[in-house]
């Protein structure tokens, strides 16, 4: 039986091995992804983002226990950064997910970011597709919210959860970085700590201003009024809920699950889910184009040719920008021109 068939039929070990091949960008991975593609599109894809230590893994532990009560099968992907120095990593998310072990309805995979340019998002997307094809009802991806990665997760997820902790520092940082804009649900975890209410009202304000700014350019207050009015009448607008939780005790997790279900229903009923599917597939398609084009280009342009370009740049006879353009021209005239 092929690896793909084994995955579809629920063979967990085959799934684990396929995930390795994908992660290593093995030559067989495209074949596997092509095979599983038509089995994808069924799972609810959930992204959970936040700074290290905010409680994402603990939250997933509590949330997953609850989800399992309603029979959902869960695929969990926990991504942590690789060390910049050694390329190694310590992946410790399982420490917090102890309650989920030994449950056949749950599959957990830890992944290091491996620091490849744009590689993480395509590997993540591929891993998500495998879990989707393997028949998990919900696929949850945990990522550290730094730099671009949260934006990548937005293009991967149908429901994005941003996790913050009490205290304005974290929230202001989140608002500034633009991470709030991708949130469908905001969680203030560790709400057993002080300053929860202050944090909540700050975030409420930032979210309202954020969604107002997206609507048009006129006076903010008017728009907030507008939106409030619309909210009363127009069910097509999703008001981002802010949920306070204590992941370690499970407090607030019921609310979170409820909102997750509500959001999923919302995007399905408004057709938003189709737009999200579209932008996800577009991101995957474009990153494949980039990757395959780059591979082709580096195969076609000999190493000698590239080294020569570098020498010329070093001699300051040309600049890196012109040299890159020249490379493309060289590629076009030598390999593409004669085809039409």
């Amino acid at each position: 039986m092929s690896l793909t068939k084994q995955i579809i039929s629920g063979d967990r070990r085959a799934l684990a091995q396929a995930l390795t091949l994908i992660e290593n960008d093995d030559h067989s991975s495209q074949h596997i992804l092509t095979d599983v593609y038509r089995h994808t599109g069924c799972a609810h894809l959930i992204g959970i983002t936040g700074i290290p230590g905010v409680g994402k893994s603990t939250l997933i532990n509590s949330l997953a226990k609850l989800m399992r009560k309603s029979g959902d099968k869960l695929g969990l992907l926990a991504i942590d950064p690789s060390s910049q120095f050694s390329q190694g990593a310590i992946l410790g998310d399982r420490i917090r997910m102890k309650d989920l072990l030994g449950d056949e309805g749950i599959f957990i995979r830890s992944m290091a970011s491996r620091g490849v340019l744009g590689g993480l998002s395509s590997t993540t997307a591929a891993a998500v597709d495998l879990l989707d094809a393997a028949g998990f009802d919900r696929v949850i991806v945990e990522t550290v919210g730094v730099g671009q990665s949260e934006v990548d997760i937005a293009s991967n997820a149908q429901t994005s959860i941003v996790v913050l902790c009490p205290g304005l520092g974290d929230s202001i940082q989140a608002a500034k970085s633009g991470i709030l804009e991708i949130a469908d649900i905001i969680v203030i975890n560790k709400s057993d700590y002080p300053e929860v209410n202050l944090t909540k009202s700050y975030l409420r304000e930032m979210i309202d201003i954020g969604s107002a700014a997206q609507t048009s350019g006129s006076e903010t207050q008017n728009i907030i009024d507008d939106i409030n009015e619309k909210l009363d009448t127009d069910s097509s607008i999703w008001e981002v809920p802010i949920i306070t939780t204590v992941a370690t005790t499970g407090e607030g997790i019921g609310d979170l699950f409820e909102q997750l279900l509500a959001h999923y229903e919302h995007i399905k009923s408004t057709g938003e889910i189709i737009r999200r599917r579209h932008s996800r597939l577009r991101a995957i398609f474009e990153s494949q184009l980039r990757k395959q084009l780059y591979t082709k280009l580096s195969q076609m342009l000999s190493e000698d040719y590239c080294l020569r370009q570098l020498e010329v740049i070093m001699e300051r006879e040309t600049d890196p920008y012109t040299a890159a353009t020249n490379c493309i021209k060289h590629f076009e005239t030598n390999y593409i021109g004669d085809e039409d």
Binding site: R12, L21, S86, G88, L91, R94, I95, S110
Partner: protein
């Protein structure tokens, strides 16, 4: 594809609540470029083997201080075989009496290191064990 990082599971089975040694080893392996899936304290053999399967690791390292190796190690090895993971090398660290080491090797343990072993020795042991095991891993799609 040989430059992909080695993925290893480091776990601390048994009931004693002390994982400093395991953490030091995890860090040393990370610094040597390995990806360490660290599962923490009080892992049952079942949990360890299940995690090793899901994570598709190339090796498993367990740290045992409680003297329970005679019970825990055979259980882990049996479960590995049951799950079709008999080829995944198991390394045992901790306080293992000299007389028991041979017995562990006979059970199929790939390496044993005591409290005195330097982290660099542990790192090269892991790398050796994994690379000598490579051709046994069947990845045919």
């Amino acid at each position: 594809m040989s430059d992909n990082p080695i993925r290893i599971l480091i776990a601390k089975p048994g009931l004693d609540g002390h994982d400093r040694g395991a953490k030091i080893i995890a860090r040393a392996l990370r610094d040597a470029g390995l990806e360490v899936i660290y599962t923490g304290l009080r892992q049952s053999p079942m949990m360890i083997v299940e995690a090793a399967m899901q994570e598709d690791v190339k090796a498993i390292g367990v740290s045992i201080l409680s003297g329970a190796h005679q019970v825990l190690v055979p259980r882990i090895i049996n479960l590995l075989h049951e799950k079709g993971l008999g080829h995944v090398p198991l390394l045992v660290g901790g306080i293992i009496p000299e007389n028991d080491v041979d017995e562990l090797f006979q059970l199929g343990v790939a390496g044993v290191f005591g409290p005195g072993t330097s982290t660099s020795d542990i790192v090269s042991l892991v790398q050796d064990v994994v690379s000598s095991n490579k051709n046994k891993i069947n990845y045919s799609a």
